[in-house]
């Protein structure tokens, strides 16, 4: 079966392609947008791309359980990152009345 046919029928290359494109869209969000909240959403997208790749590889290894275990740990770390990251955003907004990264490019106020 060709790669294109495999992608159309939901084979492994299709999932890997979706994961890679999701990672790149997340990267584009972080690079192009100025609001730190939207950049945070981009980071979440990149974490999700890793999850898609993990679960897809696990399924094509015959339902390997390790992929889902790693997915659980990634979710735990993502929850920590969300809590601390959003607390930092709230702190930044209190200091500068802005969530724009261009307006917060120095440690000193």
């Amino acid at each position: 079966m060709t790669t294109a046919g495999s992608i159309l029928q939901g084979g492994l290359p299709g999932y890997i392609l979706v994961a890679m494109l999701l990672l790149l869209i997340g990267l584009a969000t972080v690079l192009c947008r100025r609001s730190v909240l939207v950049q945070f959403m981009g980071v979440e997208l990149m974490l999700n791309a890793a999850n898609v790749a993990l679960v897809a590889f696990a399924r094509f290894r015959g339902g390997d359980v390790q992929g889902t275990v790693f997915y659980l740990f990634i979710i735990a770390v993502a929850a920590c990152e969300a809590a601390v990251g959003l607390a930092l955003v709230v702190g930044l907004y209190r200091h500068r009345q802005s969530t724009d990264t261009d307006r917060a490019d120095a440690l000193k106020q």
């Binding site: 790669t3 999701l22 192009c32 979440e44 679960v55 390790q66 889902t68 275990v69 709230v90 261009d102």
Partner: protein, 162 residues
């Protein structure tokens, strides 16, 4: 079915890049996460799909939307100065890496070798529990400690006078 969920995922992500309103951007993120949950279902992993809906499009996005509404700032501020070079450079880098990713997937013999068909084996919760609590118990406890530390850190960061 795969194409539907893949397109939902990627469309939500692309809409997030171009959306100016922060609340609508958060809802685009929910769309993308829902597409990923559908992909997990197609991969025969209902556990991961349920966790995706509960933790990502439930908890994390709700927290994010609460912070957006708390900050009382629903759209991006006008740029202090235009940065055309950086903007075009980032677009160029992303497009180049995207082309590289497509080329990689289409030409990788290794990936094609891993692509064995057959119906997916559904992920059973008991197998996951055994693997988690027998083989990864230390990592599980460490994750619990990490969550506690993050919670304490978030509270101490946000609280004005501790």
């Amino acid at each position: 079915m795969f194409l539907t969920f893949a397109l939902i995922t990627l469309a939500g992500a692309v809409a997030l890049v171009f959306q100016r309103n922060l609340v609508v951007a958060g809802l685009c993120l929910v769309l993308s996460f829902a597409g990923v949950a559908g992909l997990f279902l197609l991969l025969g992993n209902p556990v991961a799909a349920a966790l995706q809906v509960i933790v990502y499009s439930g908890a994390i996005v709700v927290l994010l939307l609460f912070v957006i509404m708390l900050l009382n700032e629903h759209r991006e501020e006008p740029a202090l100065r235009p940065r055309p070079l950086q903007r075009w450079l980032s677009v160029l880098v992303t497009v180049a890496m995207g082309a590289g990713a497509v080329r990689l997937v289409f030409h990788s013999a290794l990936l094609r070798g891993l692509d064995r068909g057959g119906p997916p084996v559904p992920m059973a919760l008991d197998r996951l529990g055994v693997a988690l609590f027998r083989d990864h118990l230390v990592a599980f406890e460490a994750a619990g400690l990490l969550l506690l530390a993050a919670m304490v850190g978030a509270v101490s960061l946000v609280k004005r006078d501790l």
